[in-house]
Every structure is written in structure tokens, then in C-alpha cells.
């Protein structure tokens, strides 16, 4: 495995370029990049910017697959540039293009504003009616591990937009909410601490909501964090249909664990050691 670590081979990066002030449409520029084993596409783009063309523009931040900034179309698949090793997907030629289904702002930078507008419309936060408790909390909300598991997978979303780029419905219908907003809406509706399920259903049950998903599954295949938005959307459809047919199970609201000294102690947890400071 390590015998190839110093071997350098040339991979041609076919990068989509676009300057709105100069170009009427994007064009492809080819850059020869010396690639070593283990080098990511993000490192390749840095090489281009440092040595070949400093005008190349793209978004990146964490370089470790947690911020969701560097989503782009690599050899026809939407994925993160920092997470993808060049030699895993290409031997001699690699096409790098901005995420489809979004407007291109410049070079490899997509305009994600539409995705975030739809996301905000679906209330991606815990909503509760008990204002007094929210402003002056008396304790924590108690959630069992089973209740957590119902939405935890969908909370790993990094909002990179790869699922939106892969979705066939978004390719023609730009008003469709899309996998990310729908999944995040379901993540909060499935959270036992939340109280805005009905409000979100009004957004996701519309003509451009969950029912425009036809389970092509490309969003789940493209997702770099294993969020599986396709699964979330099907569970969301189930929620919507059962609610319409009045067959939905009434969920118990989240129990409140009141402040220190007020809750019942779990006998399995041992006592704290005796105080040694300020005695």
C-alpha cells in the first residue's frame, strides 16, 4: 500500500468556469494536476489556485466533511470535494462542476439561497407554546434513547446540498421543497420536544411538498453523511397520510425532568463521592 505514496501521476481536471461579468455561459478549462495517492479533490483545486490559475473560485471551509461547504459535481456525482480522493474516482480525467439544480454564481459556487429559503419555510427548529417555561426553564426535557433514535439520523445533515443536486424532481420543478428541507422538517416533527408538527405539515403536504418525491433514492446515494433523506421523506409521507386518515398515533409529549433534587433518582447510579473542597 505504501509503495505508491511518492508516485506522482497527472490527472487532468476539467473544471467548469464561469464569470458572470464576462461569460454568457459556463465553459470548461483543463488543468493538469500532479496527484499523489490520498490527495483529495479539494487539495487538487488548491494546487490549481496556487500554481495554475489564481482566479478559480469555490467554497470550502473545514476540509474534513463536516461543514458542507464544498459540495460539487465530481465525474457526474454530487459529493464533497474534501471527502473524495482523486484516485478513487478518476485515473486520468476528472470533471469538476458546480452542483446542478442551483444557479451558478461563479465558477464552482452554487447559489444555495433557494434551498435555505425552503428550509426556513419548514420551521427547522423546536417550537413550543410554553413561553414561561422557555424563558425561565425549571429543568431539562427527558427523552428516551428510543425517542432520540427516531430523529437522530436526520440530525446529521450538514446542509451541503448534494441531495438537492441529485434529486430528479428538482431538475424540472424548482419549487419542490427538496430532500434537505423535507428531511429537516421531519427531524423536528419526529422530535418529542417539538410542538409544530401541524404547521410543518401545512408546508410539506402541499403540491410542492413531500408527495413530489417518487423515491428515486438518488438523494440517499449522494448524501456524504448517511442521513438517508429518502427514508425521512417516506416516513413524512406516512405521517401525512395517517394524519389525514385520522389513524395517527397520539404521541406522548416529552416529560420534563425538574431541577436538582426534584426528580426520582435512578437506583443504579452510584452516589457521588464526598465533598472535599470547602468542607
Amino acid at each position: 500500500m505504501w509503495e505508491n505514496i511518492d508516485k506522482v501521476q497527472e490527472v487532468r481536471f476539467h473544471v467548469s468556469r464561469y464569470s458572470p461579468e464576462r461569460d454568457s455561459k459556463p465553459y470548461v478549462q483543463v488543468f493538469p494536476v500532479p496527484v499523489r495517492e490520498g490527495m483529495t479533490v479539494l487539495e487538487g483545486l488548491h494546487y490549481i489556485k496556487e500554481n495554475l490559475d489564481s482566479s478559480l473560485v469555490w467554497r470550502y471551509s473545514c476540509r474534513m466533511g463536516v461543514c458542507g461547504s464544498c459540495g460539487m459535481l465530481l465525474n457526474g456525482r454530487p459529493t464533497l470535494a474534501c471527502n473524495t480522493q482523486i484516485l478513487d474516482i478518476a485515473k486520468t480525467d476528472l470533471t469538476v462542476a458546480p452542483l446542478p439544480n442551483f444557479d451558478v454564481m461563479r465558477d464552482l459556487v452554487p447559489d444555495l439561497a433557494t434551498m435555505f429559503k425552503k428550509h426556513i419555510a419548514n420551521k427547522p427548529f423546536i417550537v413550543r407554546q410554553d413561553d414561561a417555561e422557555q424563558n425561565d426553564p425549571s429543568g431539562e426535557y427527558f427523552q428516551t434513547p428510543e425517542q432520540l433514535e427516531e430523529y437522530l439520523q436526520f440530525s446529521y445533515c450538514i446542509k451541503c446540498g448534494c441531495c438537492m443536486a441529485a434529486c430528479p424532481t428538482l431538475a424540472t420543478d424548482s419549487e419542490y421543497l427538496g430532500p434537505m428541507p423535507l428531511t429537516q422538517g421531519y427531524r423536528y416533527s419526529a422530535d418529542t420536544r417539538d410542538g409544530a408538527k401541524k404547521d410543518r405539515m401545512k408546508v410539506s403536504g402541499t403540491g410542492h411538498g413531500a408527495f413530489r418525491c417518487h423515491y428515486a433514492g438518488e438523494c440517499s446515494r449522494a448524501c456524504p453523511k448517511g442521513v438517508d433523506p429518502a427514508k425521512a421523506i417516506q416516513h413524512l409521507k406516512r405521517q401525512l397520510v395517517l394524519d389525514y386518515l385520522h389513524l395517527a398515533k397520539q404521541r406522548k409529549p416529552c416529560a420534563k425532568q425538574h431541577g436538582p433534587g426534584k426528580g426520582t433518582r435512578d437506583p443504579k447510579i452510584p452516589d457521588a463521592p464526598a465533598k472535599t473542597v470547602g468542607v
Binding site: 437522530l152 439520523q153 423515491y215 446515494r221
Partner: protein, 145 residues
């Protein structure tokens, strides 16, 4: 200078099928739409043609306009489209009601998605569709011969 070795990176016929980049479920969705449109187009004409029997006009029987072999083949194609559309539709009903996609769980790399959970159902449905199609093909070929 010696000739450099070249790697043949062409996808061949696999390139026609989206280069293998798309999952089978995406192709299933496209085919579901195409078969649906085909069946609908046939169906709208079918309502008109068969309702004419109330006026004793039988356009599809012996001597009728639609009794020609090309229409019989077309009908068989509609039957095949129904075989696929119906069984894939059963899969979609189960999937879209959240019954065949599995429960959410904490994702651990390498990630397993709901696509792999419903894949056995997809295969079973396609086998059933093939069996249904085979039964209809036997009769169709019997007629043609």
C-alpha cells in the same frame, strides 16, 4: 520517445445507462412514469372504443379495425407495461408508507441506506412481474401462432 501507455476509460454501453451513476431505483422511477403514460394513453382510447359496444359496434373483434396484428402487439405491450407498473406500484405503496424503508438508526460509516433495505422487495416484485408477464406471453404467442 516511447509511446505512453493509455488507460481506456470509456464506459461502453454502461455509459448509455447513466454510466452506472444512477441507482436502479432511479431507473425504476423513470420506467414507472413511462409505463404509466403508455397505459393512460391506451386507456383513454380504450374507454371510447369499448363503450361503442353499447351501440353494437365491436371494433376489436374479428373484422374490426383494431383486430390487426399491430394492435394486438400494442395491446401486449400495454399488458407488459401494466405488469411492471402494477408490481412496482405495490413496492412504491409499501415504501412510500414507510413500511419497507426501515427505521431511522445512528449512521455508522460505511453508510447503509433505505435503498438496500427495500432492494429485496424490489427484486421480489420484479420476479412477480416477470411471472405475470410470462403467463400473458404464453397466451399472446398462442394467439399469434
Amino acid at each position: 520517445m516511447a509511446e505512453l501507455k493509455r488507460h481506456d476509460n470509456r464506459l461502453g454501453v454502461w455509459g448509455w445507462l447513466g454510466g452506472g451513476r444512477w441507482g436502479i431505483e432511479r431507473y425504476a422511477y423513470i420506467l414507472h412514469r413511462l409505463t404509466g403514460l403508455g397505459i393512460l394513453f391506451y386507456f383513454l382510447l380504450h374507454i371510447v372504443v369499448t363503450s361503442l359496444r353499447a351501440m353494437q359496434i365491436y371494433l376489436w373483434t374479428e373484422g374490426g379495425f383494431f383486430h390487426q396484428p399491430v394492435f394486438k402487439v400494442g395491446e401486449y405491450l400495454v399488458f407488459s407495461a401494466f405488469a411492471y407498473h402494477a408490481f412496482n406500484g405495490v413496492r412504491l405503496i409499501l415504501v412510500e408508507l414507510g413500511l419497507a424503508v426501515g427505521k431511522p438508526f445512528e449512521p455508522v460509516y460505511p453508510y447503509k441506506t433505505s435503498l438496500s433495505v427495500q432492494r429485496p422487495l424490489f427484486i421480489v416484485m420484479m420476479i412477480l412481474a416477470a411471472a405475470f408477464l410470462a403467463a400473458g406471453t404464453i397466451e399472446f404467442l398462442g394467439f399469434v401462432e
